[in-house]
């Protein structure tokens, strides 16, 4: 490490490093878009981990900041694994089914980035949450 020579350099370093720990703030941030990947045994068997990693990569590539990716257990739509749920603040959740890596990337670019639904992947929610 060579010494930081000015405040501007320090600020640049901060901005670069900030992304390394924003995961810790994301959970507490209220306005984030939440991406929930179903990762129970069936989800994982169907490739949910690859999907999640692909989505993460895409989000990083596009430099999108306001997204929290979390995983959950079985969401009940085992016929359509891997499943991914998107929750925009203040909106009804959208559930996508049969999301492989490629489709995961598509969801990121279309829905998260441009706010456009990926119609052909949407599946109905099998239950009402009380």
């Amino acid at each position: 490490m060579c010494p930081i020579k000015s405040l501007d350099e320090l600020k640049a370093l901060r901005d670069k490093l900030k992304t390394d720990i924003d995961v810790r703030e994301a959970g507490e941030a209220e306005g984030n878009i939440k991406v929930i990947v179903g990762m129970a045994t069936c989800g994982i068997a169907a490739g949910a981990r690859e999907t999640m990693l692909a989505m993460l990569e895409e989000i990083n590539k596009l430099g999108i900041k306001n997204v929290t990716i979390v995983q959950s257990g079985c969401m009940g739509s085992c016929y359509a694994e891997p499943t991914v749920e998107l929750r925009f603040p203040g909106q009804e959740p959208i559930l996508y089914g049969n999301v492989n890596s490629e489709k995961g990337r598509e969801i990121v670019t279309k829905h998260i980035k441009d706010g456009e639904l990926v119609q052909n992947l949407i599946i109905g929610r099998p239950f009402e949450t009380v």
């Binding site: 060579c2 020579k5 000015s6 901060r14 959970g27 179903g38 999640m52 990693l53 993460l56 995983q71």
Partner: protein
């Protein structure tokens, strides 16, 4: 987004380390590797989360799940269930006693709800051993700001306006201290960080140094710029090995990054610092004594004036500030004086960290705004008294403070109000006591401490406290007289008025405050020869409750003077004339058939 999709924060504070948080970390890492998650999940050792009662703590991000009392063997389940399958491990969640519900997120826990974290802002959030993490949370930005945008006078003005006062005990305005050091002309000046946390039962300074050492280094450099000092010392207790270790790492990293040393951030400002070790002397928390100790001498205080700001370390102008005080500086610089002074009371601004301990459910470190009541701290944050016992007293300010009672619970606390009710803020120790604690014995405990720690330089403290302790011992042994109580009070007042330093002047506080609020108990000890809490053994007798005794002979066998008689399977009896009140029978009895009266 991070390189890692998940961060597991594991508390690496002294308390949690004592419960093997290192074992948790190595097990977590092992199982994460087994499941091939090492590129997705990062395990970070952080500083103290404050919730020490339920340690070790593991926090999972971004899910924001808070696990308590984690054992190394739980690591496997956390990895398999939570990290792989996304299922929260319910049995490791905190159960909110008032709701009887498991609470996953720390913001829903009563323990954290009323807290505002300024000094502890990074404790439990970043890794203290990685300067990059500190920089990513605005670390060293305040130093950059003062060096490039502010004159030293402006820095002092800002700190004065914020209303920040010394968090180590005295409550002296920090800005004024800096100003005095600035105004004394001298080629060499020094900044000292007082990390000689001597109050037994206070551990906030240690936690800050363990959890966020860079914030102290940054603030010391800022203080150096404001006062004109180029060199600093951190005086830390040798009993804090972990804090020392992390400080050493932090100093090395800060030097590598050019944030300590010559020409910091290209501004031409030089500042460097070094660690000096204390060696176990409470009086060294007093600033003049501390300075003598750094000089390599016996840590005896000297008269003020001259104040250290005029003539301190090696007779040069020196500003001595406490760890917690320093930790408040960077946010004040970045967020402004108004932001800080909006928190707190009229004369005491900002927050204070308290080490809540004793007979309270949630032992831990809490940072609360000044002006909060003791009731809120003990009952809302602290979760009330352990084992549903009755609250009796709370001791604040350590050996220099006083014992407060039920009627003080609703007083908004700040420097002034605590002093007006016979205690003090001190460094922020807060020990809760219940009906099983004898107030005379507590006063004796503190006096024993002071007698032990008195440096011996001035007579009131050296001899006076010794006499106080002797009288208290007499009273707890049932040999006290009413005259003794008078002498206690008179002598206590005299020591308060005449002792040389802060330690001596405040040492009678525990006696005087307990006499004020628990006078009846003193009189009971003297007149009735009774200790209602059942603590002072000389005033107790042990009795066997015949109905409960099954005649197992366990008590008779352990009695060292053979004063318990009785046949097998028949109730036993204690010969009071021979009993030496050792309590062996009491501990030996498995049937709760022996009582103290």
């Amino acid at each position: 987004m991070s390189k890692y999709r998940m961060h597991l924060l594991v508390c690496g504070g002294t308390g949690c380390k004592a419960s093997d948080s290192d074992g948790i970390i190595s097990n977590l890492e092992k199982h994460i590797k087994e499941h091939g998650l090492e590129n997705e999940v990062q395990v970070v050792t952080t500083g103290c989360f404050g919730f020490c009662e339920k340690g070790p703590i593991v926090k999972v991000h971004p899910d924001n799940v808070f696990y308590i009392e984690v054992k190394p063997e739980d690591a496997e389940e956390i990895v398999k269930e939570h990290l792989v399958k996304g299922r929260v491990v319910n049995r490791l969640l905190y159960v909110e006693p008032t709701l009887q519900e498991r609470v996953g997120q720390h913001k829903d826990m009563a323990f954290y709800k009323k807290q505002i974290r300024i000094a502890l802002r990074n404790c439990g959030f970043i890794s203290p051993e990685d300067i990059n993490e500190y920089i990513s949370v605005e670390g060293y930005q305040a130093l950059g700001k003062v060096l490039t945008e502010m004159s030293p006078e402006e820095v002092i003005e800002l700190v004065k306006k914020s209303g920040l006062r010394g968090r180590g005990g005295g409550g002296f305005p920090t800005g004024i201290k800096w100003e005095a050091a600035r105004k004394t002309a001298s080629e060499d000046k020094y900044i000292i960080c007082n990390a000689d946390e001597g109050d037994p039962g206070a551990f906030m300074d240690r936690s800050i140094l363990e959890g966020d050492p860079h914030s102290v280094l940054e603030a010391m450099a800022i203080a150096g710029y404001a006062t004109g000092a180029k060199e600093g010392f951190i005086y830390i207790r040798a009993e804090y090995p972990l804090a020392i270790h992390r400080l050493q790492i932090a100093i090395t990293q800060a030097r590598e990054f050019g944030l300590l040393g010559k020409d910091i951030l290209g501004t031409g400002f030089d500042f460097d610092l070094d660690i000096r070790y204390g060696a176990g002397a409470f009086v060294c928390g007093e600033e003049t004594a501390l300075i003598h100790s750094i000089e390599g001498d016996r840590g005896e205080p000297t008269n003020k004036p001259p104040f250290p700001a005029q003539s301190g370390l090696w007779k040069k102008p020196t500003s001595v500030n406490n760890v917690e005080t320093f930790a408040n500086i960077p946010p004040i610089i970045l967020k402004g004086a108004e932001w800080f002074s909006a928190i707190g009371t009229e004369k005491s601004k900002g927050t204070k960290v308290f080490a809540l301990a004793g007979k309270v459910n949630n032992v831990g470190l809490v940072e609360v705004p000044m002006g909060i009541t003791l009731r809120e701290i003990i009952f809302d944050i602290g979760g009330g008294i352990k084992d549903d016992r009755k609250f009796k007293s709370v001791q604040t300010g350590g050996p220099s403070g006083g014992c407060l009672t039920e009627e003080n619970l609703d007083t908004p606390i700040d420097y002034e109000t605590l002093a007006s009710i016979g205690s003090m803020m001190g460094s922020g120790g807060m020990i809760v006591m219940d009906e099983d604690d004898c107030m005379v014995n507590v006063a004796k405990f503190y006096l024993e401490f002071t007698v032990d720690e008195s440096c011996g330089k001035c007579t009131p403290c050296r001899v006076g406290n010794k006499r106080l302790h002797e009288i208290l011992t007499r009273i707890t042994e049932g040999k006290g007289t009413m005259k003794d109580l008078e002498v206690l009070k008179e002598l206590g007042e005299a020591i308060k008025d005449t002792a040389l330093c802060g330690l001596g002047q405040t040492s009678p506080n525990p006696v005087l405050s307990t006499m004020k609020y628990f006078w009846d108990e003193y009189v009971e000890h003297v007149k009735d020869k009774k200790c209602r809490a059942g603590v002072c053994t000389s005033l107790l007798s042990y009795y066997i409750i015949a109905e409960k005794c099954i005649g197992c002979t366990a008590c008779a066998r352990v009695c060292p003077v053979k004063c318990i008689k009785g046949e097998v399977k028949k109730p036993h009896e204690i010969d009071q004339s021979k009993c030496i009140k050792c309590g062996a029978c009491y501990t030996a009895c498995k049937f709760k058939a022996i009582e103290k009266r």
